[in-house]
Amino acid sequence: MTKNLIQSFFLFLILGLVQVLVGNNISLFNIATPFVFIYFLIRLPLTLNKNLTMAIAFLAGLIIDIFSDTQGMNALACTILAVARIPILKLYVTHNDDITSPIPSSKSLGVAVWLKYLLSTTLCYCLVITFIESFTIDNYLISLYRAVGSTIFSFILLFGIDIIVNTKNEKRL
């Protein structure tokens, strides 16, 4: 468990830097912004204490917030993601026995379920953050475009990151 947490910490360090220095500056077609750092939240061990997961998510969101001058926005969205993660997974996995390892991945869940889980959590996060972000703006259609655009963009990047992280692990073994 400790090893997993340390791994997650380094994953956050790298993805957080990528998010802050690159991701936040991208705005594809003025609507899609990638959120890559949530990958480490999605991959946190499922057996981890719920309260601890929320605390980690909140802190991670807060750190990203500090860098991008959006106090509380990412923190709230990350906390919601940490709560919604397991119910979302339960939508696709009916028996707990199907999960072979505490860390959700394409191996432990099966490729189809893992991709569904990844897409759903990304959509959840992007919807939450876009609607918090545009709280004061009346034009909800633009927010919806932004949420969907960001989801697609983030999902593609997260899928790529997933492949990189997993092949690294295999090589080490």
Partner: protein, 286 residues
Amino acid sequence: MKNLIDFLLRHSSWFVFAFFAFISCWLLFKNNPYQQHIYLTSANAVTASIYKGASNVTSYFNLQSINADLQERNALLEMEVLSLKKQIRNYHSLENPIELNFADDSIVCDYEYHFANVINNSVSKPKNYITLDKGSLDGIEKDMGVVDQNGVVGIVCGVSDHAARVISLLNPDMHLSCKIKNSDFFGSLVWRGTNPYYATLEEMPQHVKFQKGDTIVTSGYSDLFPPGLIVGTIEGRESATDNNFYSLKIKLSTDFTRLSTVRAIKSKMANEIKQLESEQIESEQQ
């Protein structure tokens, strides 16, 4: 009592969630654009140093276009120098030199410039902020106007020792008093929406005549910016919100997507004016 503790423990995750959600919402909503402290913003020591490191690398990418801008500006200034020289020669050639009357230009002396580099910037969020690599130790102060070579950029809203946070013109909380060049009609420039190249000039009286392409400049009614700084050009008319006023769509002259070196303007008169105003208010209250 035991039941109560049991209940709390069993549902602890709900309370923890409520606690974190409350803190986030508090951070989200207490936040006013002119907040004093900068610890939770990108102008604090750690974040500023990371952004400085990154900007050391990325600042090279924009150099070519900035160079072009500067050369254009240089040419304009050169032309202005030439015309001014010509004017002075004209005055000298007169037998009785009249006292030189630089009504508009002399005001420039009342302002002091500080150069800074933009190390973090956003244009796609609903509320945008900019971080500069100079802070209070370099002479940057709160409420200084910020401009770049093309036009107005924003206003300093928070300062730490080595970094400053600027509220960008691309932020609905920022209102800038502007007028159409060579006329005295002024309105309030505000950014609404998502396009970083356009803003709206509101509260223009119905009878003002304008043409597409007219220049919009700062009015100088706030002491943050000297009057006559270029803000943008008129692109067209927007639907009126009120029968007596109309709104203009303004194409901003500053390209916010590639800011690099900016100048923070310190008005030497600002303190004096503020002092005068506060004295006035005090004497009225007595």
